[in-house]
């Protein structure tokens, strides 16, 4: 544990003694993957990467991937775009890309490959765009090249659902630029006109200034302000009086009135008000867009559960195809360490399947001929041949996806009620402006239009409409930095109201991986340390989750002829002796003598080691609590939330965990339906429930909770269903989430209070004719900017951040070889 891995910064793996040469020194690396990546980087002369990179964030594990199928025609059609000159374009999301140096590394290394025309990376969004010549380099070569550097490239299909923020941002920037330049110019002319009106100016020059103002304002109104017109029109078509309507009306009316006055040569002009209004509102929207872009960048995790390729068995031989190309009845071969590409039935072979992603069940299931398998689960131990039974919309994955959509749709729609209030407000604004115009038309026709315009501008409910979304977006961005993704905006509103917090146990409160709790030598022939050495040497040959308990033990013993008995144990030879580890029955079956001590005290989670003479030792495995579980629960309790544990595990282990965490209410042995019923009973008693879980059997429960949090170290699927996602394995960010949610609600209240106060003060002034339209535009814009800036206060770090950053985190980024 002295020096971390030179490449990835993770702790070194015992028994892996490789190193790379850097700066004339031997620097150790943790695994073959890091060694390959470091050597590739150094051989290309890109060593500067190591000087400038930022430490990698926790929890990134590079998976072994399979790229050949990306060269198939179907994949190319889906992921790439063929240009007229024969080159292809592809967009990638790059997992593990976290700093500018990473971007430079990929750009330099991949950009050097023959056939790569152009590569463009955005570290902020972990996106890359590539243009390459398919005759010189294939897509799979490009992907594996990025993968070799230690990043996980994910081609994005061209029909991707995720909005492309950078395109939106560029569009918004152009509009903002036009509005800014236009405003600068028009303000100069307006000041000249005001000055000229007081000091005297020739009519020609005045008309010239007005004409030039018209020329400059036209692109501002027609191009820069176009989103407001589009928004207002969309609202009108949907029969909603949206926030954009008064904005569009103000800009449109001010511009049209002034244009007519300019062309007729009489009457006053309000180009300055129209242009300034456009600019400040666009600025607010731009900041809001940036906030939102920073806040939400998740991908559809469900699709990523499917493997990249499947091996289809035909009479003529095997071929690699995309999972989407499989049909019912196809035969598919799945090797150990690969994911099942489609729902099917095993026709050949026997293996262990890790279904934890779909069921949340950590222990692998053993399945043999005739057994049903689900797409997305992991084949752990040996080759399987399947007959595909369900594909596409009929598959289990699709069914879970639909379930999630339904559960989500059944929620109360807070957002729509806010829109209804806004619609009334807009209606009131319009009526007020028309009334003001009509009254002044009788009193003083010359002042009717400017006063109506001032009322319209000044009461624009922009501050009101920005008050909530701006604060929510800022809070999301803040939380993302603290290790929490906000998947849905409503989550924070509900988080504030939550008074119950329900935890799943396995993988949420506990680490989710077994550890050795106790070693019990059963004979005098070997001591504790000796038994551990043999056990570690044996388990090194296993891909079973239990083997991870032994993975961090080093052992000088090298065993020969190790054989795996699926779901029972392992056997290995050392000289003349033969050792077995695994279930008690299995190990006993390997004993020659009957003389074995009885050990009734061994629990179900015990692993036994033995040789031909009898049992040697028993290892008790437990799933330890996360280090911050106790602290987080105590803090949440201090914040007024009542913790509850709801687990599918057996009563004794749940009681044990509850006792250690000092949680008084713990429910054990619950199925998904039971958890749902428990949740509903809390909700019917008038409580708001925050649910924290990780498995997909929790997904409907998560969706039914008032707020749901998925622990990111858990599963991809649960990520999709939750309102909030914890990016790492730690629970502590939950406290940050609750605190930030409360601060957010405070900011929203301040913002709304300010908006109401401002309107109450400004409307009478405008109605009385004391406000010029340009003053109204300044006041109104200042008010909405104030609201956005107030929201940005949420971005600033609160005290807990420091602790979050400096806390030790498990940064294991290794290439895991298939078992």
């Amino acid at each position: 544990m002295s020096e971390p891995c030179f490449h990835c910064g993770a702790a070194l793996t015992p028994n892996f003694r490789h190193a790379v040469q850097f700066g004339g020194q031997r620097r150790p690396v943790c695994c073959g993957g890091c060694e390959a990546a470091a050597n590739l980087i150094l051989s290309q002369g890109l060593e500067r990467y190591y000087e400038f990179r930022a430490p990698s964030p926790p929890g990134f594990v590079l998976q072994v991937r399979e790229w050949q199928a990306f060269d198939r025609e179907a994949a190319l059609r889906r992921y790439t775009h063929l240009r007229a000159d024969g080159s292809r374009e592809v967009s990638l999301r790059i997992g593990g890309l976290h700093c500018a140096a990473c971007g430079w590394l990929i750009e330099s290394s991949v950009g050097r490959a023959a056939g790569v025309h152009e590569i463009h990376l955005e570290p902020a969004s972990a996106r890359a765009e590539l243009r390459y010549d398919p005759r010189q380099i294939s897509l799979s070569e490009l992907l594996s090249r990025i993968h070799t550097l230690g990043y996980d490239p994910e081609p994005l299909s061209f029909t991707g659902v995720a909005p492309d923020w950078s395109v939106q941002r560029r569009d918004m920037l152009r509009r903002l630029g036009v509005a800014a330049f236009g405003m600068m110019a028009v303000m100069t002319y307006a000041i000249s006109l005001y000055a000229g009106a007081m000091a005297g100016m020739t009519p020609d020059l005045e008309q010239l200034l007005r004409l030039v103002s018209l020329v400059v304002s036209t692109p501002v109104v027609l191009y820069a302000a176009q989103p407001f017109f589009a928004g207002a029109w969309r609202g009108l078509r949907a029969r909603i009086l949206g926030m954009d309507l008064p904005v569009a009306l103000s800009i449109g009316l001010a511009y049209t009135w002034s244009a007519i006055a300019t062309l007729r040569g009489t009457g006053s002009v309000y180009f300055d008000s129209a242009v300034m209004f456009t600019f400040f509102l666009l600025l607010g929207r731009f900041i809001e867009l940036t906030l939102r872009a920073r806040a939400g960048r998740e991908n559809d995790a469900l699709a990523r559960l499917l493997p990249d390729a499947a091996v289809r068995v035909r009479e003529a031989g095997t071929e690699r195809v995309l999972p989407e190309e499989l049909c019912v009845g196809d035969r598919v071969r799945v090797f150990a360490g690969e994911r099942i590409p489609a729902d099917g039935e095993i026709v050949n072979g026997q293996s262990e399947l890790d279904e934890s992603l779909l069921t949340g069940e950590a222990a692998p299931r053993s399945r043999g001929k005739g057994g049903a398998v689900i797409a997305g689960t992991l084949n752990l131990s040996s080759v399987l041949e399947l007959q595909v039974t369900r594909v596409g919309q009929d598959s289990t994955l699709a069914a879970i996806r639909r379930l999630l959509v339904q559960a989500r749709a059944a929620r109360p729609r807070l957002a729509s009620s806010a829109d209804r209030v806004a619609a009334w407000f807009v209606a009131a604004v319009l009526v007020l402006s028309i009334a003001a115009g009509a009254w002044w038309w009788h009193a003083d026709p010359a002042r009717a239009f400017p006063i109506a315009l001032a009322v319209l501008v000044v009461t624009c409910p922009c501050a009101l409409s920005l008050a909530t979304p701006a604060a929510l977006a800022a809070a999301s961005a803040r939380l993302a930095r603290g290790g929490i993704l906000v998947a849905r905006g409503r989550a924070l509103e509900n988080l504030v109201r939550a008074d119950y917090v329900v935890f799943d146990k396995t993988g949420t409160l506990t680490v989710g991986e077994p550890r050795i709790a106790r070693v019990q030598p059963l004979s005098g022939r070997a001591d504790e340390a000796g038994c551990l050495e043999i056990a570690a040497a044996l388990e090194r040959h296993s891909g079973h989750p239990i083997a991870r308990a032994f993975a961090n033990l080093s052992s000088p013993i090298a065993l020969t002829d190790v054989t795996v008995a699926a779901s029972r144990g392992l056997e290995g030879h050392l000289g003349a002796s033969c050792y077995r580890i695994g279930r008690e029955e299995y190990v006993r079956a390997g004993c020659k003598s009957i003389e074995t001590p009885q050990c009734a005290s061994l629990g179900g989670s015990a692993v036994v080691l033995g040789d031909r003479q009898g049992l040697l030792a028993a290892f008790t495995l437990t799933d330890p609590l996360k280090s911050d579980a106790h602290g987080t629960i105590a803090q949440l309790r201090a914040l007024g939330l009542r913790p509850v544990i709801a687990s599918g595990d057996n009563a004794s282990s749940v009681q044990g965990v509850a006792a250690r965490l000092e949680v008084s209410t713990a429910h054990a042995a619950l199925s998904a339906e039971d958890k749902l019923a428990l949740l509903r009973s809390f909700q019917q008693a008038g409580h708001r429930v925050l649910m924290v879980g990780d498995g997909v059997n929790d997904a409907p429960v998560l969706a039914a909770a008032d707020v749901s949090v998925a622990v990111g170290g858990g599963t991809d699927l649960a990520k999709v269903s939750a309102d909030l996602i914890l990016l790492g394995d730690r629970l502590a960010p939950l406290t940050l989430a609750v605190n930030t949610a409360r601060r957010t609600l405070r900011v929203i209240r301040q913002n709304i209070a300010w908006a109401v106060l401002y309107n109450a003060a400004a409307v009478p002034l405008a109605l009385g004719g004391w406000l010029q339209p340009w003053m109204a535009a300044v006041g109104m814009s200042a008010s909405s900017l104030l609201v956005v800036l107030n929201a940005m206060r949420l971005l600033r770090a609160a005290p807990p951040t420091l602790e979050l950053v400096s806390a030790p985190v498990n940064t294991k980024a290794t290439l895991r070889a298939p078992a």
Binding site: R48, A100, W104, A124, S166, G177, A185, L208
Partner: protein, 60 residues
């Protein structure tokens, strides 16, 4: 003051050029990534490769 009749339209022309330049910069994606360029100057190779060598490099 008649110079204003020339200067004001000239100003509008300059404005158009400025907007054009801004659009060009946006299209060149100069505003997309505001973090890496600052680091990039430290990372990229400083040594200037003579043109004939450069050609040889791109060929392999």
């Amino acid at each position: 003051m008649s110079i204003l009749y020339l200067l004001i339209p000239l100003g509008v022309g300059m404005l158009a050029v400025a907007v054009g330049g801004f659009f060009w910069a946006v299209r060149q994606r100069q505003f997309d990534d505001l973090q890496s360029p600052a680091v990039r100057i430290l990372l990229d190779e400083d040594q200037i490769v003579p043109p004939e060598l450069q050609q040889a490099e791109t060929q392999d």
